[in-house]
Protein backbone atom coordinates (compact mmCIF):
# COMPACT_ATOMS: atom_id res chain seq x y z
CA UNK A 1 0.00 0.00 0.00
CA UNK A 2 1.27 3.46 -0.84
CA UNK A 3 1.66 6.24 1.68
CA UNK A 4 -1.41 7.90 0.23
CA UNK A 5 -3.42 4.70 0.69
CA UNK A 6 -2.75 4.96 4.39
CA UNK A 7 -4.06 8.51 4.57
CA UNK A 8 -6.79 7.54 7.04
CA UNK A 9 -4.19 6.28 9.46
CA UNK A 10 -2.06 9.40 9.07
CA UNK A 11 -5.18 11.42 9.87
CA UNK A 12 -5.75 9.25 12.93
CA UNK A 13 -2.22 9.83 14.19
CA UNK A 14 -2.39 13.57 13.49
CA UNK A 15 -5.77 14.03 15.23
CA UNK A 16 -4.72 11.86 18.14
CA UNK A 17 -1.57 13.87 18.77
CA UNK A 18 -3.31 17.23 18.38
CA UNK A 19 -5.99 16.12 20.82
CA UNK A 20 -3.54 14.65 23.30
CA UNK A 21 -1.34 17.77 23.19
CA UNK A 22 -4.33 20.06 23.75
CA UNK A 23 -5.42 17.88 26.64
CA UNK A 24 -2.04 18.16 28.34
CA UNK A 25 -0.91 21.67 27.47
CA UNK A 26 -4.07 23.78 27.82
CA UNK A 27 -5.09 25.20 31.17
CA UNK A 28 -8.66 26.00 30.18
CA UNK A 29 -11.01 23.23 31.27
CA UNK A 30 -13.24 23.49 28.18
CA UNK A 31 -10.23 23.39 25.84
CA UNK A 32 -9.05 20.28 27.63
CA UNK A 33 -12.39 18.65 26.88
CA UNK A 34 -12.09 19.68 23.22
CA UNK A 35 -8.70 17.95 23.19
CA UNK A 36 -10.24 14.87 24.73
CA UNK A 37 -12.95 14.80 22.04
CA UNK A 38 -10.37 15.05 19.26
CA UNK A 39 -8.40 12.26 20.88
CA UNK A 40 -11.46 10.02 21.09
CA UNK A 41 -12.62 10.91 17.56
CA UNK A 42 -9.28 9.82 16.13
CA UNK A 43 -9.93 6.37 17.57
CA UNK A 44 -13.37 6.31 15.95
CA UNK A 45 -11.71 6.92 12.57
CA UNK A 46 -9.18 4.18 13.32
CA UNK A 47 -11.99 1.67 13.87
CA UNK A 48 -14.03 2.82 10.88
CA UNK A 49 -11.00 2.64 8.57
CA UNK A 50 -10.14 -0.89 9.61
CA UNK A 51 -13.65 -2.10 8.78
CA UNK A 52 -13.49 -0.83 5.21
CA UNK A 53 -12.54 -3.38 2.58
CA UNK A 54 -11.38 -2.18 -0.84
CA UNK A 55 -14.30 -2.56 -3.24
CA UNK A 56 -16.56 -3.64 -0.43
CA UNK A 57 -20.16 -2.50 -0.35
CA UNK A 58 -22.52 -1.75 2.52
CA UNK A 59 -23.18 -4.92 4.51
CA UNK A 60 -26.75 -5.53 3.33
CA UNK A 61 -27.33 -9.05 2.07
CA UNK A 62 -27.71 -8.97 -1.73
CA UNK A 63 -28.93 -11.69 -4.06
CA UNK A 64 -26.62 -11.76 -7.01
CA UNK A 65 -24.96 -14.35 -9.17
CA UNK A 66 -21.37 -13.35 -8.54
CA UNK A 67 -19.98 -13.19 -4.99
CA UNK A 68 -20.29 -9.79 -3.30
CA UNK A 69 -17.60 -8.21 -1.09
CA UNK A 70 -19.00 -6.53 2.00
CA UNK A 71 -17.33 -4.10 4.36
CA UNK A 72 -16.94 -5.46 7.88
CA UNK A 73 -19.82 -3.96 9.87
CA UNK A 74 -18.59 -5.01 13.31
CA UNK A 75 -16.03 -2.20 13.89
CA UNK A 76 -18.63 0.30 12.72
CA UNK A 77 -21.16 -1.02 15.21
CA UNK A 78 -18.57 -1.09 17.96
CA UNK A 79 -17.68 2.51 17.37
CA UNK A 80 -21.34 3.46 17.55
CA UNK A 81 -21.12 2.31 21.17
CA UNK A 82 -17.92 4.25 21.68
CA UNK A 83 -19.51 7.40 20.21
CA UNK A 84 -22.33 7.10 22.74
CA UNK A 85 -19.76 6.74 25.50
CA UNK A 86 -17.93 9.78 24.14
CA UNK A 87 -21.11 11.87 24.16
CA UNK A 88 -21.84 10.82 27.74
CA UNK A 89 -18.28 11.66 28.80
CA UNK A 90 -18.53 15.06 27.14
CA UNK A 91 -21.90 15.82 28.75
CA UNK A 92 -20.59 14.89 32.17
CA UNK A 93 -17.34 16.78 31.63
CA UNK A 94 -19.09 19.96 30.54
CA UNK A 95 -21.58 19.82 33.40
CA UNK A 96 -18.64 19.46 35.78
CA UNK A 97 -17.09 22.55 34.19
CA UNK A 98 -20.35 24.46 34.78
CA UNK A 99 -20.32 23.42 38.43
CA UNK A 100 -16.64 24.36 38.75
CA UNK A 101 -17.39 27.78 37.25
CA UNK A 102 -20.17 28.24 39.83
CA UNK A 103 -17.96 27.17 42.70
CA UNK A 104 -14.72 28.92 41.77
CA UNK A 105 -15.80 31.66 39.36
CA UNK A 106 -13.20 30.58 36.81
CA UNK A 107 -12.41 27.67 34.49
CA UNK A 108 -8.67 28.32 34.23
CA UNK A 109 -6.70 25.57 35.89
CA UNK A 110 -4.00 27.81 37.40
CA UNK A 111 -6.53 30.24 38.87
CA UNK A 112 -8.46 27.34 40.41
CA UNK A 113 -5.24 26.07 41.93
CA UNK A 114 -4.51 29.51 43.40
CA UNK A 115 -7.95 29.84 45.01
CA UNK A 116 -7.76 26.28 46.38
CA UNK A 117 -4.69 27.00 48.45
Amino acid sequence: MTALGLINYWAVIFLMMVGFYTLIARGNLVKKLIGLTLFQTSVFILYISMGKITGGTAPILMESAEPVVYSNPIPHVLILTAIVVGVATMALGLSLVVRIKEAYGTIEEDEIRDTSL
Partner: protein, 491 residues
Protein backbone atom coordinates in the same frame (compact mmCIF):
# COMPACT_ATOMS: atom_id res chain seq x y z
CA UNK B 1 -32.66 -19.39 37.22
CA UNK B 2 -29.42 -20.84 38.51
CA UNK B 3 -27.97 -21.15 35.01
CA UNK B 4 -28.69 -17.46 34.38
CA UNK B 5 -26.71 -16.28 37.42
CA UNK B 6 -23.73 -14.90 35.39
CA UNK B 7 -25.91 -12.38 33.63
CA UNK B 8 -28.38 -11.74 36.46
CA UNK B 9 -25.62 -10.61 38.79
CA UNK B 10 -25.02 -7.70 36.38
CA UNK B 11 -28.53 -7.06 35.12
CA UNK B 12 -30.33 -6.79 38.47
CA UNK B 13 -28.29 -3.79 39.75
CA UNK B 14 -28.46 -2.29 36.24
CA UNK B 15 -32.29 -2.40 36.26
CA UNK B 16 -32.48 -1.33 39.89
CA UNK B 17 -30.54 1.85 39.02
CA UNK B 18 -33.31 3.63 37.06
CA UNK B 19 -35.90 2.30 39.53
CA UNK B 20 -34.01 4.01 42.36
CA UNK B 21 -34.16 7.27 40.39
CA UNK B 22 -37.83 6.88 39.42
CA UNK B 23 -39.20 6.25 42.92
CA UNK B 24 -37.32 9.40 43.97
CA UNK B 25 -37.76 8.96 47.75
CA UNK B 26 -34.50 8.74 49.73
CA UNK B 27 -35.58 5.84 51.93
CA UNK B 28 -37.26 3.80 49.17
CA UNK B 29 -34.35 4.35 46.79
CA UNK B 30 -32.08 3.15 49.55
CA UNK B 31 -34.21 0.02 49.99
CA UNK B 32 -34.06 -0.65 46.23
CA UNK B 33 -30.27 -0.30 46.28
CA UNK B 34 -30.00 -2.53 49.32
CA UNK B 35 -32.17 -5.19 47.70
CA UNK B 36 -30.09 -5.15 44.51
CA UNK B 37 -26.80 -5.34 46.44
CA UNK B 38 -27.95 -8.17 48.66
CA UNK B 39 -29.18 -9.99 45.57
CA UNK B 40 -25.80 -9.43 43.85
CA UNK B 41 -24.00 -10.78 46.91
CA UNK B 42 -26.22 -13.88 46.98
CA UNK B 43 -25.63 -14.43 43.26
CA UNK B 44 -21.88 -13.96 43.75
CA UNK B 45 -21.79 -16.57 46.51
CA UNK B 46 -23.78 -18.91 44.24
CA UNK B 47 -21.30 -18.30 41.40
CA UNK B 48 -18.26 -18.99 43.57
CA UNK B 49 -19.77 -22.23 44.84
CA UNK B 50 -20.68 -23.38 41.34
CA UNK B 51 -17.27 -22.52 39.91
CA UNK B 52 -15.46 -24.33 42.72
CA UNK B 53 -17.70 -27.37 42.29
CA UNK B 54 -18.09 -27.58 38.50
CA UNK B 55 -15.33 -25.45 36.97
CA UNK B 56 -15.67 -22.67 34.39
CA UNK B 57 -19.19 -21.43 33.62
CA UNK B 58 -19.86 -20.18 30.08
CA UNK B 59 -23.02 -18.22 29.41
CA UNK B 60 -24.15 -17.15 25.93
CA UNK B 61 -26.07 -13.89 25.99
CA UNK B 62 -29.39 -14.26 24.16
CA UNK B 63 -28.35 -17.76 23.03
CA UNK B 64 -25.98 -16.40 20.38
CA UNK B 65 -23.07 -18.82 20.09
CA UNK B 66 -19.70 -17.60 21.32
CA UNK B 67 -17.53 -15.92 18.68
CA UNK B 68 -20.50 -14.05 17.17
CA UNK B 69 -22.46 -13.35 20.32
CA UNK B 70 -21.13 -11.96 23.58
CA UNK B 71 -20.09 -14.63 26.01
CA UNK B 72 -19.85 -14.36 29.77
CA UNK B 73 -17.15 -16.55 31.26
CA UNK B 74 -16.93 -17.08 34.98
CA UNK B 75 -13.84 -18.90 36.21
CA UNK B 76 -12.39 -18.92 39.71
CA UNK B 77 -10.66 -15.54 39.20
CA UNK B 78 -13.75 -13.70 37.97
CA UNK B 79 -15.98 -15.31 40.60
CA UNK B 80 -13.48 -14.15 43.23
CA UNK B 81 -13.60 -10.54 42.00
CA UNK B 82 -17.40 -10.64 41.66
CA UNK B 83 -17.60 -11.78 45.27
CA UNK B 84 -15.32 -8.97 46.49
CA UNK B 85 -17.23 -6.27 44.60
CA UNK B 86 -20.67 -7.57 45.59
CA UNK B 87 -19.65 -7.98 49.23
CA UNK B 88 -18.32 -4.43 49.37
CA UNK B 89 -21.51 -3.16 47.73
CA UNK B 90 -23.64 -4.99 50.29
CA UNK B 91 -21.49 -3.57 53.12
CA UNK B 92 -21.47 0.02 51.85
CA UNK B 93 -25.20 0.47 51.12
CA UNK B 94 -26.38 -0.06 54.73
CA UNK B 95 -23.59 2.30 55.79
CA UNK B 96 -24.53 4.85 53.13
CA UNK B 97 -28.00 5.50 54.54
CA UNK B 98 -26.89 7.52 57.56
CA UNK B 99 -23.63 8.74 56.04
CA UNK B 100 -25.15 10.02 52.80
CA UNK B 101 -28.15 11.63 54.52
CA UNK B 102 -25.63 13.56 56.57
CA UNK B 103 -23.42 14.61 53.64
CA UNK B 104 -25.89 15.15 50.78
CA UNK B 105 -29.02 17.25 50.27
CA UNK B 106 -32.21 15.09 50.21
CA UNK B 107 -33.01 15.73 46.53
CA UNK B 108 -29.71 14.19 45.49
CA UNK B 109 -29.98 11.01 47.54
CA UNK B 110 -32.08 8.92 45.08
CA UNK B 111 -29.70 9.90 42.26
CA UNK B 112 -26.78 8.93 44.44
CA UNK B 113 -28.15 5.39 44.69
CA UNK B 114 -28.72 5.34 40.92
CA UNK B 115 -25.09 6.23 40.25
CA UNK B 116 -23.96 3.78 42.90
CA UNK B 117 -25.90 0.89 41.36
CA UNK B 118 -24.64 1.75 37.87
CA UNK B 119 -21.09 1.76 39.18
CA UNK B 120 -21.66 -1.59 40.89
CA UNK B 121 -23.12 -3.24 37.79
CA UNK B 122 -20.28 -1.89 35.64
CA UNK B 123 -17.66 -3.30 37.96
CA UNK B 124 -19.43 -6.67 38.16
CA UNK B 125 -19.77 -6.69 34.38
CA UNK B 126 -16.03 -6.26 33.84
CA UNK B 127 -15.45 -9.29 36.04
CA UNK B 128 -17.87 -11.68 34.31
CA UNK B 129 -17.55 -10.78 30.65
CA UNK B 130 -15.53 -12.86 28.21
CA UNK B 131 -15.59 -10.29 25.43
CA UNK B 132 -12.83 -7.71 25.07
CA UNK B 133 -15.00 -4.85 23.81
CA UNK B 134 -17.63 -5.56 26.43
CA UNK B 135 -14.93 -4.88 29.01
CA UNK B 136 -14.59 -1.34 27.67
CA UNK B 137 -18.35 -0.75 27.76
CA UNK B 138 -18.65 -1.89 31.38
CA UNK B 139 -15.52 0.03 32.27
CA UNK B 140 -17.10 3.24 31.00
CA UNK B 141 -20.39 2.52 32.80
CA UNK B 142 -18.53 2.14 36.07
CA UNK B 143 -16.16 5.06 35.44
CA UNK B 144 -18.78 7.61 34.39
CA UNK B 145 -20.88 6.82 37.44
CA UNK B 146 -17.76 6.95 39.63
CA UNK B 147 -17.01 10.48 38.36
CA UNK B 148 -20.55 11.48 39.35
CA UNK B 149 -20.22 9.88 42.78
CA UNK B 150 -16.95 11.68 43.47
CA UNK B 151 -18.33 15.04 42.33
CA UNK B 152 -21.05 14.73 45.02
CA UNK B 153 -18.53 15.55 47.76
CA UNK B 154 -19.28 18.57 49.94
CA UNK B 155 -15.98 20.33 49.33
CA UNK B 156 -15.81 22.24 46.04
CA UNK B 157 -12.49 20.55 45.38
CA UNK B 158 -14.52 17.37 44.80
CA UNK B 159 -15.53 18.93 41.47
CA UNK B 160 -11.97 19.49 40.30
CA UNK B 161 -10.97 16.05 41.59
CA UNK B 162 -13.80 14.49 39.59
CA UNK B 163 -12.85 16.52 36.50
CA UNK B 164 -9.23 15.44 36.76
CA UNK B 165 -10.29 11.80 37.14
CA UNK B 166 -12.63 12.17 34.15
CA UNK B 167 -9.83 13.46 31.91
CA UNK B 168 -7.28 10.84 32.97
CA UNK B 169 -9.81 8.03 33.12
CA UNK B 170 -11.11 8.79 29.62
CA UNK B 171 -7.57 8.83 28.24
CA UNK B 172 -6.97 5.46 29.90
CA UNK B 173 -10.20 4.02 28.53
CA UNK B 174 -9.40 5.33 25.04
CA UNK B 175 -5.98 3.66 25.21
CA UNK B 176 -7.77 0.42 26.06
CA UNK B 177 -10.07 0.83 23.03
CA UNK B 178 -7.05 1.40 20.78
CA UNK B 179 -5.45 -1.77 22.14
CA UNK B 180 -8.62 -3.80 21.60
CA UNK B 181 -9.03 -2.38 18.09
CA UNK B 182 -5.48 -3.31 17.12
CA UNK B 183 -6.06 -6.84 18.38
CA UNK B 184 -9.28 -7.04 16.40
CA UNK B 185 -7.63 -5.88 13.19
CA UNK B 186 -5.06 -8.68 13.46
CA UNK B 187 -7.34 -11.51 14.59
CA UNK B 188 -10.88 -10.60 13.56
CA UNK B 189 -12.36 -11.56 16.91
CA UNK B 190 -13.21 -9.94 20.21
CA UNK B 191 -13.95 -13.06 22.21
CA UNK B 192 -11.19 -13.52 24.78
CA UNK B 193 -10.88 -17.28 24.33
CA UNK B 194 -10.79 -16.83 20.55
CA UNK B 195 -8.23 -14.04 20.86
CA UNK B 196 -6.03 -16.27 22.98
CA UNK B 197 -6.13 -18.92 20.25
CA UNK B 198 -5.40 -16.63 17.33
CA UNK B 199 -2.92 -14.18 18.85
CA UNK B 200 0.16 -16.48 18.89
CA UNK B 201 0.01 -16.75 15.07
CA UNK B 202 0.36 -12.98 14.67
CA UNK B 203 2.44 -12.26 17.78
CA UNK B 204 5.51 -11.64 15.61
CA UNK B 205 3.99 -8.57 13.93
CA UNK B 206 4.56 -5.06 15.19
CA UNK B 207 0.85 -4.46 15.76
CA UNK B 208 0.38 -6.90 18.63
CA UNK B 209 3.18 -5.52 20.86
CA UNK B 210 1.74 -2.05 20.24
CA UNK B 211 -1.73 -3.30 21.21
CA UNK B 212 -0.23 -4.86 24.31
CA UNK B 213 1.46 -1.58 25.24
CA UNK B 214 -1.69 0.50 24.78
CA UNK B 215 -3.67 -1.93 26.91
CA UNK B 216 -1.03 -2.01 29.63
CA UNK B 217 -0.78 1.78 29.87
CA UNK B 218 -4.56 2.22 29.74
CA UNK B 219 -5.26 -0.34 32.44
CA UNK B 220 -2.43 0.77 34.73
CA UNK B 221 -3.86 4.29 34.50
CA UNK B 222 -7.18 2.93 35.70
CA UNK B 223 -5.59 0.98 38.56
CA UNK B 224 -3.42 3.96 39.58
CA UNK B 225 -0.04 2.30 39.33
CA UNK B 226 2.73 4.76 40.12
CA UNK B 227 3.36 7.15 38.23
CA UNK B 228 -0.15 7.14 36.73
CA UNK B 229 -1.85 7.60 40.10
CA UNK B 230 -2.29 11.39 40.02
CA UNK B 231 -6.09 11.29 39.89
CA UNK B 232 -6.42 9.05 42.93
CA UNK B 233 -5.49 11.10 46.06
CA UNK B 234 -7.84 14.01 45.33
CA UNK B 235 -10.68 11.74 44.23
CA UNK B 236 -10.48 9.67 47.42
CA UNK B 237 -10.05 12.70 49.67
CA UNK B 238 -12.99 14.81 48.53
CA UNK B 239 -15.57 12.14 47.62
CA UNK B 240 -18.37 11.47 50.16
CA UNK B 241 -17.25 8.97 52.82
CA UNK B 242 -19.40 6.08 51.60
CA UNK B 243 -18.18 6.62 48.03
CA UNK B 244 -14.54 6.61 49.08
CA UNK B 245 -15.06 3.37 51.00
CA UNK B 246 -16.71 1.73 48.00
CA UNK B 247 -14.40 3.01 45.24
CA UNK B 248 -11.22 2.42 47.22
CA UNK B 249 -12.29 -1.14 47.88
CA UNK B 250 -13.49 -2.05 44.38
CA UNK B 251 -12.60 0.18 41.41
CA UNK B 252 -8.83 -0.26 41.44
CA UNK B 253 -9.25 -3.95 42.29
CA UNK B 254 -11.34 -4.57 39.21
CA UNK B 255 -8.69 -2.80 37.13
CA UNK B 256 -6.08 -5.18 38.60
CA UNK B 257 -8.33 -8.04 37.54
CA UNK B 258 -8.49 -6.60 33.98
CA UNK B 259 -4.71 -6.49 33.91
CA UNK B 260 -4.53 -10.15 34.94
CA UNK B 261 -7.21 -11.13 32.45
CA UNK B 262 -5.46 -9.49 29.49
CA UNK B 263 -1.94 -10.55 30.46
CA UNK B 264 -2.66 -14.16 31.25
CA UNK B 265 -5.84 -15.20 29.46
CA UNK B 266 -5.70 -13.11 26.29
CA UNK B 267 -2.00 -12.62 25.56
CA UNK B 268 -0.75 -15.56 27.59
CA UNK B 269 2.02 -15.59 30.18
CA UNK B 270 4.63 -16.65 27.62
CA UNK B 271 4.05 -13.56 25.46
CA UNK B 272 3.59 -11.15 28.36
CA UNK B 273 6.66 -12.18 30.31
CA UNK B 274 9.10 -13.72 27.82
CA UNK B 275 8.51 -11.56 24.74
CA UNK B 276 7.32 -8.29 26.25
CA UNK B 277 9.32 -8.68 29.48
CA UNK B 278 6.54 -7.23 31.52
CA UNK B 279 8.20 -8.11 34.83
CA UNK B 280 11.04 -5.68 34.07
CA UNK B 281 8.66 -2.74 34.05
CA UNK B 282 6.05 -3.85 36.61
CA UNK B 283 8.41 -4.88 39.43
CA UNK B 284 10.44 -1.62 39.54
CA UNK B 285 7.31 0.54 39.30
CA UNK B 286 5.64 -1.47 42.06
CA UNK B 287 8.68 -1.15 44.31
CA UNK B 288 8.91 2.61 43.72
CA UNK B 289 5.17 2.88 44.43
CA UNK B 290 5.52 1.02 47.73
CA UNK B 291 8.43 3.12 48.96
CA UNK B 292 7.64 6.63 47.71
CA UNK B 293 3.88 6.56 48.25
CA UNK B 294 4.26 5.23 51.79
CA UNK B 295 6.72 8.04 52.46
CA UNK B 296 4.35 10.64 50.98
CA UNK B 297 1.53 9.20 53.11
CA UNK B 298 3.54 9.91 56.26
CA UNK B 299 3.54 13.65 55.52
CA UNK B 300 -0.20 14.03 54.94
CA UNK B 301 -2.29 16.13 57.30
CA UNK B 302 -5.64 14.81 56.09
CA UNK B 303 -6.32 11.21 57.10
CA UNK B 304 -8.37 10.39 53.99
CA UNK B 305 -5.53 11.67 51.81
CA UNK B 306 -3.04 9.72 53.92
CA UNK B 307 -5.06 6.55 53.31
CA UNK B 308 -5.33 7.41 49.60
CA UNK B 309 -1.54 7.54 49.20
CA UNK B 310 -1.32 4.36 51.20
CA UNK B 311 -3.74 2.83 48.65
CA UNK B 312 -1.34 3.66 45.83
CA UNK B 313 1.40 1.93 47.82
CA UNK B 314 -0.83 -1.09 48.45
CA UNK B 315 -1.65 -1.30 44.73
CA UNK B 316 2.11 -1.59 44.35
CA UNK B 317 1.98 -4.81 46.40
CA UNK B 318 -0.68 -6.28 44.12
CA UNK B 319 1.20 -5.32 40.96
CA UNK B 320 4.40 -6.67 42.48
CA UNK B 321 2.74 -10.05 42.90
CA UNK B 322 1.61 -9.96 39.26
CA UNK B 323 5.05 -8.80 38.15
CA UNK B 324 6.68 -11.84 39.77
CA UNK B 325 4.52 -13.89 37.41
CA UNK B 326 4.74 -17.12 39.38
CA UNK B 327 1.77 -19.04 40.75
CA UNK B 328 2.68 -17.92 44.26
CA UNK B 329 3.10 -14.29 43.15
CA UNK B 330 -0.26 -14.11 41.39
CA UNK B 331 -1.89 -15.83 44.38
CA UNK B 332 -0.36 -13.17 46.63
CA UNK B 333 -1.66 -10.43 44.31
CA UNK B 334 -5.18 -11.87 44.30
CA UNK B 335 -5.14 -12.36 48.07
CA UNK B 336 -4.05 -8.78 48.57
CA UNK B 337 -6.88 -7.71 46.27
CA UNK B 338 -9.37 -9.18 48.73
CA UNK B 339 -7.50 -8.19 51.86
CA UNK B 340 -6.91 -4.63 50.79
CA UNK B 341 -10.62 -4.25 49.99
CA UNK B 342 -11.39 -5.36 53.56
CA UNK B 343 -8.84 -3.12 55.27
CA UNK B 344 -9.37 0.04 53.21
CA UNK B 345 -13.13 -0.49 53.43
CA UNK B 346 -12.92 -0.59 57.22
CA UNK B 347 -10.51 2.35 57.44
CA UNK B 348 -12.45 4.67 55.14
CA UNK B 349 -15.71 3.72 56.88
CA UNK B 350 -14.16 4.59 60.23
CA UNK B 351 -13.19 7.97 58.73
CA UNK B 352 -16.79 8.34 57.57
CA UNK B 353 -17.91 7.88 61.20
CA UNK B 354 -15.48 10.61 62.25
CA UNK B 355 -16.81 12.91 59.51
CA UNK B 356 -20.32 12.23 60.77
CA UNK B 357 -19.57 13.30 64.33
CA UNK B 358 -16.61 15.67 64.11
CA UNK B 359 -17.03 17.04 60.58
CA UNK B 360 -13.33 16.88 59.70
CA UNK B 361 -10.79 14.19 58.95
CA UNK B 362 -7.64 16.23 59.49
CA UNK B 363 -5.20 14.62 61.87
CA UNK B 364 -5.66 17.25 64.59
CA UNK B 365 -9.43 16.57 64.47
CA UNK B 366 -8.70 13.05 65.74
CA UNK B 367 -7.64 14.44 69.13
CA UNK B 368 -9.21 12.58 72.02
CA UNK B 369 -11.38 10.41 69.79
CA UNK B 370 -9.92 7.25 71.33
CA UNK B 371 -12.07 8.06 74.36
CA UNK B 372 -14.98 9.87 72.71
CA UNK B 373 -15.55 7.38 69.88
CA UNK B 374 -13.96 4.15 71.20
CA UNK B 375 -15.61 1.73 68.75
CA UNK B 376 -14.84 3.83 65.68
CA UNK B 377 -11.21 4.28 66.59
CA UNK B 378 -10.88 0.61 67.56
CA UNK B 379 -12.08 -0.30 64.06
CA UNK B 380 -9.49 2.13 62.68
CA UNK B 381 -6.77 0.45 64.74
CA UNK B 382 -7.81 -3.01 63.49
CA UNK B 383 -7.74 -1.75 59.89
CA UNK B 384 -4.41 -0.05 60.54
CA UNK B 385 -2.85 -3.19 62.00
CA UNK B 386 -4.08 -5.09 58.97
CA UNK B 387 -2.54 -2.46 56.69
CA UNK B 388 0.78 -2.90 58.47
CA UNK B 389 0.51 -6.67 58.20
CA UNK B 390 0.48 -7.71 61.83
CA UNK B 391 -0.10 -11.47 62.34
CA UNK B 392 -3.75 -12.49 62.98
CA UNK B 393 -4.93 -9.87 60.49
CA UNK B 394 -5.50 -10.41 56.76
CA UNK B 395 -2.68 -8.03 55.86
CA UNK B 396 -0.21 -10.52 57.27
CA UNK B 397 -1.43 -13.36 55.05
CA UNK B 398 -0.94 -11.52 51.76
CA UNK B 399 2.45 -10.09 52.75
CA UNK B 400 3.56 -13.53 53.87
CA UNK B 401 2.67 -14.94 50.44
CA UNK B 402 4.32 -12.01 48.69
CA UNK B 403 7.59 -12.40 50.61
CA UNK B 404 7.55 -16.13 49.91
CA UNK B 405 6.95 -15.49 46.20
CA UNK B 406 9.88 -13.06 46.09
CA UNK B 407 12.23 -15.42 47.94
CA UNK B 408 11.16 -18.31 45.72
CA UNK B 409 12.77 -16.48 42.80
CA UNK B 410 15.75 -15.44 44.90
CA UNK B 411 14.75 -11.78 44.82
CA UNK B 412 15.56 -11.00 48.43
CA UNK B 413 15.85 -7.21 47.87
CA UNK B 414 12.19 -7.27 46.80
CA UNK B 415 11.28 -9.02 50.03
CA UNK B 416 13.21 -6.35 51.95
CA UNK B 417 11.25 -3.57 50.21
CA UNK B 418 7.97 -5.29 51.13
CA UNK B 419 9.04 -5.30 54.78
CA UNK B 420 10.28 -1.68 54.66
CA UNK B 421 6.89 -0.74 53.21
CA UNK B 422 5.27 -2.32 56.25
CA UNK B 423 7.50 -0.33 58.57
CA UNK B 424 6.50 2.90 56.81
CA UNK B 425 2.88 1.85 57.26
CA UNK B 426 3.56 1.61 61.00
CA UNK B 427 4.66 5.25 60.95
CA UNK B 428 1.61 6.67 59.19
CA UNK B 429 -0.90 4.55 61.08
CA UNK B 430 0.80 5.51 64.34
CA UNK B 431 0.51 9.22 63.50
CA UNK B 432 -3.28 8.90 63.66
CA UNK B 433 -3.36 6.51 66.62
CA UNK B 434 -1.07 8.76 68.66
CA UNK B 435 -3.31 11.80 68.28
CA UNK B 436 -6.48 9.80 68.91
CA UNK B 437 -5.31 7.91 72.00
CA UNK B 438 -2.30 9.62 73.51
CA UNK B 439 -2.83 13.30 72.74
CA UNK B 440 -3.36 15.68 75.66
CA UNK B 441 -6.25 17.64 74.18
CA UNK B 442 -9.69 16.09 74.69
CA UNK B 443 -12.31 15.65 71.97
CA UNK B 444 -14.56 18.68 71.30
CA UNK B 445 -17.68 19.00 73.45
CA UNK B 446 -20.62 16.84 72.44
CA UNK B 447 -18.71 14.38 70.24
CA UNK B 448 -20.27 10.97 70.83
CA UNK B 449 -19.88 7.49 69.37
CA UNK B 450 -21.16 7.16 65.79
CA UNK B 451 -24.70 5.73 65.36
CA UNK B 452 -25.14 1.98 64.98
CA UNK B 453 -26.10 2.34 61.33
CA UNK B 454 -22.50 3.37 60.66
CA UNK B 455 -20.76 1.27 63.29
CA UNK B 456 -22.24 -2.10 62.31
CA UNK B 457 -20.98 -2.08 58.68
CA UNK B 458 -17.63 -0.67 59.81
CA UNK B 459 -17.21 -3.39 62.37
CA UNK B 460 -18.42 -6.08 59.97
CA UNK B 461 -15.43 -5.24 57.77
CA UNK B 462 -13.06 -4.82 60.72
CA UNK B 463 -14.16 -8.21 62.06
CA UNK B 464 -13.66 -9.72 58.60
CA UNK B 465 -10.08 -8.41 58.76
CA UNK B 466 -9.57 -10.47 61.90
CA UNK B 467 -11.63 -13.50 60.86
CA UNK B 468 -9.87 -14.03 57.53
CA UNK B 469 -6.56 -13.33 59.24
CA UNK B 470 -7.08 -16.17 61.69
CA UNK B 471 -8.94 -18.61 59.43
CA UNK B 472 -6.98 -17.98 56.25
CA UNK B 473 -7.84 -21.33 54.65
CA UNK B 474 -10.91 -20.25 52.71
CA UNK B 475 -9.47 -17.10 51.14
CA UNK B 476 -6.10 -18.65 50.26
CA UNK B 477 -7.82 -21.68 48.76
CA UNK B 478 -10.02 -19.59 46.46
CA UNK B 479 -7.15 -17.23 45.58
CA UNK B 480 -4.92 -20.19 44.69
CA UNK B 481 -7.65 -21.66 42.51
CA UNK B 482 -8.11 -18.28 40.85
CA UNK B 483 -4.37 -17.97 40.17
CA UNK B 484 -4.32 -21.50 38.76
CA UNK B 485 -7.23 -20.62 36.48
CA UNK B 486 -5.41 -17.51 35.23
CA UNK B 487 -2.06 -19.21 34.69
CA UNK B 488 -3.70 -22.26 33.13
CA UNK B 489 -2.08 -24.60 35.65
CA UNK B 490 -4.20 -27.60 36.50
CA UNK B 491 -4.77 -28.08 40.22
Amino acid sequence: MNEHLPVLVVVVPLIAAPIAALVNRPRISWAVALGACVWALGAAVGLVRRVLAEGVIRYELGDWAAPIGIEYVVDAASAWVVLIVAAMGAAVVPYARASIEHELTPDRIPLFYTAFLLCLSGLLGIAVTGDAFNVFVFLEISSLSAYVLIALGRDRRALTASYQYLIMGSVGATFIVIGIGLMYVMTGTLNMADLAERLPAVAGTRTIPVAFTFLTVGITLKLALFPLHLWLPNAYTYAPSAVTAFIAATATKVAVYMLLRFFFTVFGAAFSYDVMQLDRILIPLALVAILTMSLVAIYQENVKRLLAYSSVAQIGYMVLGIGLGSLLGVTAGLLHLFNHALMKGALFMAMGCVTYRVGSVRIEAMAGLGRAMPWTMAAFVVGGLSLIGVPLTVGFISKWYLVQAALEQGMWPVAVVVLVGSLLAVVYVWKVVEVAYFGRSPAPEGVREAPLGLLVPTWTLAAANLYFGIDAGLATDVATRAAQALLGVLP
